[in-house]
Amino acid sequence: MGSGHDPATSLRSGTPPVNTNLLAAPPRRLALALLAFGWTGIASAFTVSLTPGTRALYLDVGNGSYSGTYTSGGTPQNNSTINVVSVTVPAAAVGNGVAQAMTSNSTQSTSYYDGFAFCSPPAQVYVGGFYRQPGLTGTASLTATAPTSLTNPSGDTIAFNRISWTSTGAGDTGAEVIPAGTFTGGTQTLATFGNNSWNESCHTFSYANTTTPAAGTYTGRVTYTLSAP
């Protein structure tokens, strides 16, 4: 029995009465069985609750603010700046059909995605942001809402669809995520952001210069909106 004694001895030392009565008293055998079963019944565990990631939208048109960058775990900030895109058409060129490049007062060159120098202001205006929510589905829609016309203080107008933009970005190849277009006067969809994705482009605006409006300064505001259901 030699070395085989150790475990048996160890078992007996913990429960001596059980060994002596195991064969002699069947009811106690049952008790032992129950005890063994109860032992495995000391089920215990600790539980950790996992909460879904927060739903988030961020849109930056022109100058924006961010603490750090997205890739470094930064946090989007509010920026109330409304940038201006403008052009002064020389009197001799008014209505000659040669598109006039517009410029902006934006200074936003870097992408808050990672700090990369993505746009070239003031000619280019940064447009970008992200959308994410828990789950497999869901998209966000980027729209621009422009009035029908730009107006001057005298009430003269220039149709907003005289203003277009091209789209690019440093290092980009292929189609831009927020592509080129022309304002339609009203609300139009510029892009759809997939779930858990950062999208950005640099827009360069131009005035078509195909009409001869009354002299003056014409203004109109375009509002960009990123929304998700």
């Binding site: 475990p7 078992l11 000391i42 950790v48 909460t51 879904p52 990631g53 992200f130 497999l136 994705s197």
Partner: protein
């Protein structure tokens, strides 16, 4: 008569030895009811993206410390191997890793599996350590609050 008695004792000894063998080979749950996940569980945060520019991450990371107290007095003076087990979850691939203060082993475990956290003599009534768990989950699957159930079990020599 004496021979019969001796034989019955031998049978008894053999039975007990086989019982002992069965007990040794089994795996037992370890009572960890005294363990306490610290309050103020960190919320799951989206991970910073890696790889292709513009591709946002779909993984979430959360961290929690658990003051772990394992009642191992039932196996005192024996050799044992203690494992941390993570029950299966509907969350799909899930990564959990942890560090310790040294009494238990650091490691990682996937859902439905177990990982060794202690191997050696059981020389105390309670094994105590602090586990700092780091949990990574797929944000596309984690759409509501979910529970992760951990437990400890021991293989006794």
């Amino acid at each position: 008569m004496k021979f019969a008695l001796l034989l019955s004792r031998c049978v008894l000894m053999a039975f007990l030895a086989s019982c002992a063998t069965i007990v040794r080979a089994a795996t037992y749950p370890v009572d960890d009811r005294a363990s306490t996940p610290y309050a103020g569980i960190g919320k799951m945060q989206w991970d910073a993206p890696t790889g292709k520019r513009g591709a946002a991450p779909s993984t979430l990371t959360g961290r929690i410390a658990v003051q772990t107290r394992l009642d191992v007095r039932a196996w005192k003076h024996r050799m044992g191997r203690i494992y941390l087990t993570l029950q299966n979850t509907p969350l799909g691939p899930l990564s959990t890793s942890w560090t310790t203060r040294g009494r238990l082993l650091p490691g990682s475990v996937r859902a439905g599996e177990r990982t060794l956290v202690y191997s050696g003599p059981i020389d105390t009534d309670v094994l105590e350590d602090e586990l700092l768990l780091t949990i990574k989950a797929d944000g596309r699957r984690l759409v509501r609050t979910e529970q992760l159930d951990f437990s400890f079990e021991i293989d006794v020599n």
